[in-house]
């Protein structure tokens, strides 16, 4: 398989919050920031990741709108949709375009404007990822699938509410160091679990998952610019290579999963991505995992290979996944702290890992980060894309 090396030469991101800007402008803002970061004024192709523009924003073909808003025509453009994994899928498409030799410089932007509609309509739109006949008709929402998964995980592996709360506290603490993060709020385990007022502070969303176990609904955009070696070597920034991509799918209905507590698509996608990069899970220095629900950070940390299955919560207890730990997970705050504008998340994960590997992450810098990993979890684990990045020098 003859593929060229692919490098990240520019990154950009908006604040993740409630953004009172049209969706196209959210994508374009992050894109222009990345272009400035890369020092370029044109690209060969643009991929835009987005999930819900048709339903949330009454807008289709976002890629075509963004390429013109950026005055990058006549470059080709596509909109990539893969549920919450749209971002990493778009990065993967960008990777293929450069690796194959078809293009030299490709822009990958992700954007979502979820707060244009009220939260109930947003919940309903996101629920449309579930199986229309066997899940959606029942009022199944993504949190409800996570709730059922969490209950089984607690039964089988002894994960407790306290472990989930620890993930939330860790990620919100990390987010306080990230000025683009949605949640800029310190929380304490005491306040969300132990306080006599905990049931009001932290009510159930989908038992046993609570308010602080679920990521916020956010607007936002992120962008990475990928390029071949000839272009990348002109960059003044430290070189970060997208060394591995992996993807795997699983049954659409959560109830048809072979083992309901396994996330086989994560396992398969991670293995593929790490193998392509030629590294093992223990070589990874920093990771951005998909903690749409706190339980998922724990489960994914196991399936990816950082810890044995069923022991992720023990590593969390020991502080191994905190900023100063053995394998810091979600230094940006993750989905829980940084926010989750669905189409942007996968690209925002790539943004953070690139920032970390370049050594530009300031107060949340993971020391000596040279191998970084992202996991972008589509649907409820039925379509997962993982990316492995490496510092090249």
């Amino acid at each position: 398989m003859i593929m060229r090396d692919v490098f990240v030469i520019g990154i950009g991101i908006t604040s993740f919050t409630r953004l009172e800007y049209p969706l196209t402008e959210i994508a374009a803002y992050a894109a222009m920031m990345a272009m400035k970061d890369a020092g370029i004024s044109k690209v060969d192709h643009l991929y835009v990741a987005n999930m819900g523009s048709g339903r949330l924003n009454r807008q289709l073909a976002l890629g075509s709108a963004v390429v013109d808003s950026l005055s990058l025509t006549p470059a080709g453009a596509e909109t990539i949709e893969n549920g919450p994994a749209s971002g990493a899928s778009a990065v993967k498409q960008g990777f293929l375009a450069v690796a194959s030799g078809l293009h030299d410089v490709v822009m990958v932007a992700g954007a979502e404007r979820m707060r244009e509609v009220n939260p109930f309509d947003a919940t309903d739109t996101v629920a449309m990822m579930t199986h229309p006949l066997a899940e959606y008709i029942y009022g199944v929402t993504l949190p409800s699938l996570a709730g059922m998964f969490t209950r089984l995980y607690m039964e089988k592996y002894g994960v407790t509410e306290r472990h989930l709360a620890m993930v939330a506290v860790k990620n919100q603490d990390n987010a306080l160091l990230n000025k683009f993060a949605h949640i800029q709020q310190k929380i304490t385990v005491e306040g969300i679990l132990d306080s006599p007022e905990a049931m009001t502070n932290n009510p159930f969303v989908a038992e046993p998952l609570r308010f602080f176990d679920c990521c916020p609904v956010s607007d936002g955009g992120a962008c990475v610019i990928l390029a071949c070696a000839d272009v990348a070597k002109k960059s003044k920034k430290p070189l970060v290579r997208l060394a591995g991509v992996g993807q795997a799918t699983d049954t659409h209905c959560v109830h048809e999963r072979k083992e309901p507590t396994d996330l086989l698509a994560v396992r398969g996608a991670a293995a593929q991505s790490l193998k392509m990069a030629g590294v093992k899970p223990s070589d990874v220095n920093v990771a951005e995992l998909h903690d749409a629900f706190t339980i998922l950070e724990i489960a994914q940390s196991e399936e990816v290979g950082f810890f044995k299955k069923g022991e992720g919560h023990l590593a969390l207890e020991k502080g191994q996944t905190s900023l100063k730990g053995k394998i810091p997970i979600n230094p940006s705050g993750g989905l829980k702290g940084r926010g989750h504008p669905v189409g942007a998340t996968g690209v925002a994960q790539a943004y953070e890992i690139t920032l970390q590997l370049r050594g530009e992450a300031k107060e949340r810098q993971v020391k000596k980060a040279r191998v970084g990993f992202t996991c972008n979890f589509g649907g409820f684990g039925n379509n997962v894309v993982c990316l492995t990045f490496m510092r090249e020098d």
Partner: protein, 115 residues
Amino acid sequence: MALEIYAYKCKKCGHLHYPFRMRCKECGKNDQFEFETVPLPRKGKLLTFTYVYNLPPAYAVAKLGLGIVELENGLRITGQIQIPEPKIGMKVTGAVEAVREDEYDRRYGMVFYAA
């Protein structure tokens, strides 16, 4: 007329699927739509459950009970639960009822009760 929910049996190899998929998961050798319908059994075991509080507009209720049930024939189904004190592993029985009303569309599905 009592409503049933159907599983789909591959005409080539007999593998049962719920819900419908176009190509048999076991043998992959069927032609499009080459399945027989088999009504789902009603009795099963509750594998996991949740109560959801943040609901889409179609549900103007404070909370909704959902569960995954393993039916007698080994197939699993996601359904609503009307069970006062659900426990993992308990025996349940399903009934086909209205489970969602979006404006003018009514959808039917399985609702599980304590057996």
